[in-house]
């Protein structure tokens, strides 16, 4: 009764969800140079907004749309004071923002309380067998990821993408060239928060249950590791990084059954993750894939 294909399909669904999160972080950090250590906040806001609306009986597309809008607005809201700060302060502020949202959700019973929201309607019709359900979900996240990819693709391969790269390289120089850098940074924050929001909304209906404990700061760090693995400022790398990280995690879970180690496998896995980060920082700080070019300028 082993259904390894379900495990693999499920893994790819998560690769899709985290791929979208990685793209959104890549837009912020990889292309614009904004430190966002609170990615999980917008993921969480998307998930909760959508969950609340769909459990009230609204169809999923309204929930998704609301999730996108609310997390995008939250991104815009936090960006107003935050984007004036130094980059490392911005990182710490966003990290704390995520914790604030999580603690509020945990303590407010009308928002679900510590046990969160259960029974979120799934987008798959009831009565399908499990593998088919997974296939439907995988198809849906593929569509979502493709849309996010396309949005990111258009953004970074355009004059807009040139400006945000300029902000990353040298904000003052960009401003001296007539760009209202604040507006660009705020737009990027809003767009990538919207992406994180839809990832959250999708995850909510897939698991059909969300709890505040699912949104610990470590989730943000995970996304950072994925971006780092795949390559900064590379939107294909976002998916590669998500695939490698999640694949590593799942493979390690299975591998530990076949290895007899003198060391606790859970500890070992974390130590290896930490070492992997260090190795990348030392040997390939830019990640596996190279930065996406703005344009190829064929024929020029």
């Amino acid at each position: 009764m082993v259904n390894i294909e379900n495990f693999i399909l499920d893994m790819f669904i998560y690769v899709g969800i985290f791929g979208v999160l990685s793209i959104s972080l890549n837009l912020e950090y990889g292309f614009t140079g904004l430190w966002n250590f609170g990615k999980v906040a917008f993921y969480m806001i998307g998930a909760y907004t959508s969950a609340i609306i769909t459990t009230l009986g609204q169809p999923f597309y309204i929930g998704f749309a609301a999730g996108v809008v609310v997390s995008s607005l939250a991104g815009l809201l936090i960006s107003l004071p935050a984007l004036r700060l130094r980059e490392d302060y911005l990182g710490i502020l966003t990290l704390v923002f995520g914790e604030i949202i999580r603690i509020i959700l945990k303590n407010e019973y009308w928002l679900g309380g510590p046990l969160g929201i259960r029974g979120i309607p799934s987008i798959t019709p009831a009565g399908l067998d499990y593998t088919t359900t997974l296939l439907v979900q995988l198809a849906s996240i593929t569509v979502i990821a493709a849309v996010c990819y396309l949005v990111a693709y258009r953004l970074i391969h355009s004059p807009f993408g040139r400006v945000i790269r300029g902000i990353r390289e040298d904000e003052l120089a960009t401003a001296s060239l007539g760009k209202n850098t604040f507006r660009y940074k705020a737009s990027i924050f809003a767009i990538s928060s919207a992406m994180a929001g839809i990832a959250g909304a999708f995850m909510g209906q897939y698991v059909t249950s969300i709890t505040p404990d699912q949104f610990m700061p470590f989730v943000s760090f995970t996304v950072w590791m994925m971006v780092m693995l795949g390559g900064f400022a590379n939107i294909e790398g976002a998916f590669l990084g998500a695939f490698l990280y999640i694949g590593f995690e799942r493979a390690a879970r299975i591998a530990k059954d076949y290895l007899l180690l003198p060391i606790d496998p859970n500890n070992l896995m974390f130590i290896l993750t930490g070492l992997l980060i260090l190795i990348f920082v030392f040997l390939r700080p830019q990640g596996l894939l190279k930065e996406n070019k703005v344009r190829d300028y064929k024929g020029v």
Partner: protein
Amino acid sequence: MTMQRGSNVKGIGTAAAAGLAVVLLIVGIAAGYFAGAATVAPVTTTQTQTVTSTKTVGAEATITQTVTQTVTQPVTQTVTQTATSTVTRTVTATATAAAGLPDKVRIGVLLPLSGELGAIGQRMLYGAHIAAKIVNDSGGIGGRPVQIVAEDTAAVPDKALDAVKKLIEVQGVQVIVGPATSVEVATIAKYLNDRKVPAISMSATAAALSNLAKQYGDTYFWRVVGSDSIQARAIADIMKQKDFKRIVTFVVSNDYGIGMEQMILAQPGIKERHVLAIRYDPTKGDYRTELEQVKAANPDVIFYALWVESGKIVFRQALDLGLEKIPTMGGEGMADEAFFEDPRAADYMVKTGLFGTRPTYDPNTYSYQIFYKMHQQLYGAEPSLFADYTYDATMVAILAVAHAGVYEGAKIKNALALTGQYYIGATGMKALDPATGDLLSQDYLIWRVELKDGKPVYNFNYGSWSLGAGVVWK
């Protein structure tokens, strides 16, 4: 969990014999169930059931065990009918191979083996291994050995989801013991329903989990521990009986603590006596100002709902701040000898005469002794909090597989409701409600921390509470 040391079971020569006995008991009960299923009253009313088992173990000894258990269904509060049935069986050691079972019967276990609850989770896992060893020592389920497949959840919902998917999809596990926390249960419940694999939790007590079956249309979540809603009732009754007029609740800010606080406040007659609610951050380790607030509220009792890790710090700081004159109450999580590791926490508990509720079970029963002895033998230590419940959850899972006769989640689930009624576990009778997966009844004993020979101990004979009888002091 703690227990009194002295054993009243005489005549068991070796632990192996004891193990064999239990398995025989289990198999016998299983067989007896199929033989006499029709004669058992449906568990819709309150019933008192006395189960007496007599069995012969080799040439060494004959053991007779009598367990009297009151099974009360909480939904029907007014007792309309009491049926007593006595089942006496003599079991012989014949094991028949179950054709529908695989070569190895895998029991999946989800526990926090790392993270904040890692230490306690590792020791809870002992319970599962003990259950498996006892069954395997006597030949497994119809000749098929039981294998424990443990996965770490770190008490993180996402990891629990990963872990349960690995168990079911990669290893084909069809019955699961765990997970430990209510949050994890809430996260994986839909998946269990989708995959039609039942999970039996040993320690998820949140009342809201009783709705899962209704929400998802089928009962794939079960628990061998009472829902907080029953315990809250017991606690409220005790508070009213003691006539506390200024109650302070001091709870850990998580699903257990906040849930407990909310459940107790929802009981009639408590809100008006409640003067202050404090929910604290378990990671903070600095509760002096919270405790100062408590002092200022001038309560006549502090009700604590906390886990041992942060709880010890709270108690120690309460003692340091001179709060030892205010009487204290607590929930089941505090009946744990791990509190005594910190002499100051123990001192506080003794000085304030901390008392509280805990699901009743008699550590003197044969069932508990089997578990206890095996634990001592294998791990050389006292069983820790919830190791016994893990043991029972595992036993219930094994029994259900034996009942079902096939290794298939949906059938095992169907067997669970019936299995539970006949399993007398280390922690008492495990009658499960097929509609919600909850323990049908839970009586509570009232314990109190006392000084005995200069050492702090739990007195488990301080009083008791049941739906019918209410609070009884001893």
